[in-house]
């Protein structure tokens, strides 16, 4: 009897763990086609608080009134949404409209036949957002409509910069090292990085790669998964040099990205460090991490990743990414109509006015209120191309291995060659 109990204990514990996540086989319960009265569409998004939630609720009601289509909206926290989406895809029961991050992740969804081809259905909107739609294109077909796209750069505390005697934001890495020295001399911790979660650390290597690698090398890498170009090694060497200069906050190896006041974003928001490299969501994140809900408002500056010497990449190219509305393969036509509605000029303007993100429809650009965000938007619009975050572009399997190896470099346990090798090995295992 004891044996059975012990075995079931061991079995249940070790295996149910994985299987909780990969259970169901239930047949899809997608809604039937046709638009108009009686049709219901489901919509999942992550604007689950404040003005954003209010706005989306309003939009759903407006659409219902105009078309007679019922919109069942579900707003949830970002992480919850990702988990729930994974489960929904596994169970073949995805919502009609959901958020797609593009890249390898989208390619996997397309390959599994989960998402609808919007190339013809939303041709007008795709033309409107222009090159930005590239990130959601697989084999020449667009599978999702981007509604918010931003780029990654340095957010900094303008007051602390002034105190340390720094007049201007750095444009090259030589100037950047000078800034780091000045901040240290003034007794400040220069940069916070949430290396505990790996991706914020990995973004440094992406950025150096973007500066060192020519555009075609990067575009080729996404399809051929070939990382043999020496520019990837040079990216690692530059990162090693930066880590050696010790600009990062104390305990950065275990610092989380943006949860709590002691996370990397929290340290910037509470003025414990002078800068942090993050995406366009940073002002919003910091608001949630300060007691007055303002973040660093009033003393927040932004500058793009500085230039490197002798890089092959276009100096104006940026690393970034964003969110797009994807439509499930078996969703009714009304779902496509709704997504087109969300991409309309008025809706995007309202979106920008509420600082919910960086609009992709050009006419909505001037509605962005926050000056730091407006500056970032300008840099994005001037960029010859925006490289999607590598972990998203290459898919989670390759991207995860890449991030792990980069995090090892932050811990002093990987060389530039190790990063390339680990990434290549994961890419080769993809087959």
């Amino acid at each position: 009897m004891n044996t059975i109990r012990a075995l079931s204990l061991a079995a249940a514990g070790s295996l149910v763990l994985t299987l909780a996540a990969c259970g169901g086989d239930s047949e899809g319960s997608g809604s039937s086609g046709g638009s108009g009265d009686g049709t219901t569409i489901t919509w999942w998004h992550n604007s689950n608080t404040g003005a954003g939630l209010e706005y989306y609720t309003e939009l759903a009601a407006q659409f219902e009134e105009e078309t007679g289509v019922t919109v069942e909206m579900e707003a949830m926290a970002h992480e919850d949404m990702l988990t729930k989406l994974d489960a929904a895809f596994q169970a073949d029961d995805a919502p009609d409209i959901y958020m797609e991050r593009g890249g390898g992740e989208l390619a996997d969804h397309v390959e599994a036949g989960l998402t609808k081809d919007l190339t013809e259905l939303a041709a007008e909107e795709i033309e409107k957002v222009g090159g930005i739609a590239q990130g959601w294109t697989v084999d020449g077909k667009v599978y999702a409509l981007p509604f918010s796209v931003g780029v990654v750069g340095f957010w900094y505390n303008t007051e602390m910069f002034e105190e340390a005697g720094i007049a201007e934001a750095p444009e090259t890495w030589d100037e950047m090292y000078d800034v780091i020295d000045k901040l240290k001399a003034a007794g400040m911790e220069p940069i916070s990085v949430g290396a505990g979660e790996k991706w914020p650390a990995a973004h440094y290597w992406y950025q150096f790669s973007l500066r060192h690698c020519a555009e075609d090398v990067l575009t080729d890498a996404v399809t051929s998964l070939d990382f043999s170009d020496p520019c990837f090694i040079r990216a690692g060497e530059d990162l090693e040099k930066l880590i050696a200069a010790e600009p990062f906050n104390r305990g950065f190896l275990s610092t989380p990205a943006q949860t709590g006041p002691t996370s990397a974003s929290g340290l910037l928001a509470t003025e414990q460090v002078a800068m942090e490299m993050q995406g366009h969501w940073e002002p919003g994140v910091m608001q949630g991490l300060t007691e007055d809900g303002k973040g660093l408002a009033g003393k927040l500056g932004w500058f793009p990743f500085p230039q490197v010497e002798g890089g092959q990449g276009d100096p104006a190219a940026q690393l970034g990414g964003g969110d797009a509305w994807g439509v499930s393969a078996d969703a009714p036509d009304a779902a496509v109509d709704f997504v087109k509605f969300l991409l309309s000029d008025e809706v995007q303007r309202g979106f920008a006015e509420r600082d919910m993100g960086l609009p992709t429809v050009p006419s909505a650009g001037d509605a962005v209120a926050d000056p730091a965000l407006a500056g970032l938007l300008e840099v994005r619009n001037d960029a010859p191309y925006v490289q999607l975050y590598f972990d998203t572009a290459f898919g989670q399997a390759v991207g995860g291995a890449m991030n792990d190896a980069i995090a090892l470099m932050f811990a002093g346990q990987a060389s530039p060659q190790d990063i390339v090798d680990a990434t290549q090995a994961a890419a080769d295992a993809e087959g």
């Binding site: 295996l15 994985t18 790996k198």
Partner: protein, 327 residues
């Protein structure tokens, strides 16, 4: 992999006098069999649905390259097992699990025993002390993990502030961020969390040790220490062995605390088999690899459990069979 038929140790000898069957015995046997089926069916169904079926599915998944959605089409045979076993992070994780198994027993056993013997004596504030020691065990691992994460904050946490009062400084990356210190720190937190369970079980076991034996030993001139060492602790044997078994299985499956405190880092220094497979599955969408890792974890747990059962717990189960036969 045969899972359902479990080899039972002991208790397999048929009852004596089986050959002399009184009239009507066959009918009684049939009724008994029907009753057994009726009463065990719900449990068996649950066992099949929530234990056997998931195990079989995990084995199935482990043979495919699968991203977690879409049909299972990319059959790769044992390749996932090869990549798991050749993966330094996974073999490191196995080593970490074994270190935690050994460390848990080496640290918690003497500590738990000492505390239990101490608390078993009549003393002031006994209830309060027992509660203090047992409270960490009642807390969920996630809550305890979050609390310790805050306490151990590098440069800002309570632990380093305390160190500061005696003139010491914590490591630059903090206790959880320094690769060589992360695993020992984890063991300390786990000890804090689980020593209460050991104490509770040992105290319960001590209730079964008759006072007369200790009194007799004392009359014979044994000191308190000798009494504990020669009489009480040996009689506590079955409890200790059962606790060690629970501790071993728990350590092999360790997940929550690691996930919260370090996420398996820094530099994979605290990865356990469970964090490895969750990372591979949900973060990297290598569900085939994750399933293979979970099967390996299962086999390791199974082998250790069966071995322990055969060589350590056997005595206890054999003893337990005697009164059962009388009943």
């Amino acid at each position: 992999m045969a899972i359902a038929p479990v080899p039972t140790t002991g208790a397999t000898t048929p009852p004596a006098g089986r050959t002399a069957r009184p009239a009507g015995a066959a009918r009684r046997d049939w009724r008994m069999a029907a009753e057994i089926v009726l009463f065990t069916a719900p449990a068996l169904v649950l066992f099949a649905v929530f234990v056997v079926w998931p195990i079989l599915r995990a084995v199935q998944f482990s043979l495919y390259r699968w991203k977690g959605f879409g049909p299972l089409v990319d059959f790769v045979g044992l390749q996932n097992y090869v990549s798991v076993l050749a993966n330094g992070v996974f073999t490191g994780a196995v080593a970490h699990n074994l270190i935690i198994v050994v460390a848990s027993i080496l640290v918690q056993l003497p500590l738990g025993l000492a505390l239990a013997l101490l608390l078993n004596r009549k003393m002031r504030g006994q209830g309060l002390l027992r509660t203090i020691i047992f409270v960490p065990y009642v807390l969920s691992e996630v809550i305890a993990g979050v609390v310790w994460f805050q306490l151990l904050q590098p440069g800002r946490g309570v632990v380093e502030a305390l160190l500061g009062t005696v003139g010491l400084e914590g490591p630059y990356q903090g206790f959880l961020g320094t690769p060589s210190l992360a695993l020992p720190t984890l063991v300390v937190v786990l000890t804090w969390k689980y020593v209460g369970l050991a104490v509770l079980l040992f105290l319960a076991g001590l209730q079964g040790v008759p006072d007369e034996l200790a009194e007799a030993a004392q009359i014979d001139g044994a000191s308190w220490w000798q009494t504990q060492w020669r009489v009480t602790i040996p009689l506590l044997g079955p409890t200790i062995r059962m606790w060690a078994f629970l501790s071993m299985i728990g350590s092999l499956q360790l997940f929550d605390m690691v996930w919260i405190l370090t996420g398996g880092g820094p530099a994979n220094a605290t990865t356990t088999m469970a964090t490895f497979l969750v990372n591979e599955g949900t973060k990297r969408q290598n569900y085939g690899i994750a399933a293979a890792a979970s099967v390996v974890l299962f086999v390791i747990a199974l082998v250790m459990a069966v071995t322990y059962q055969r060589f350590v717990l056997r005595r206890d189960t054999a003893e337990a069979d005697v009164p059962r036969g009388v009943r």
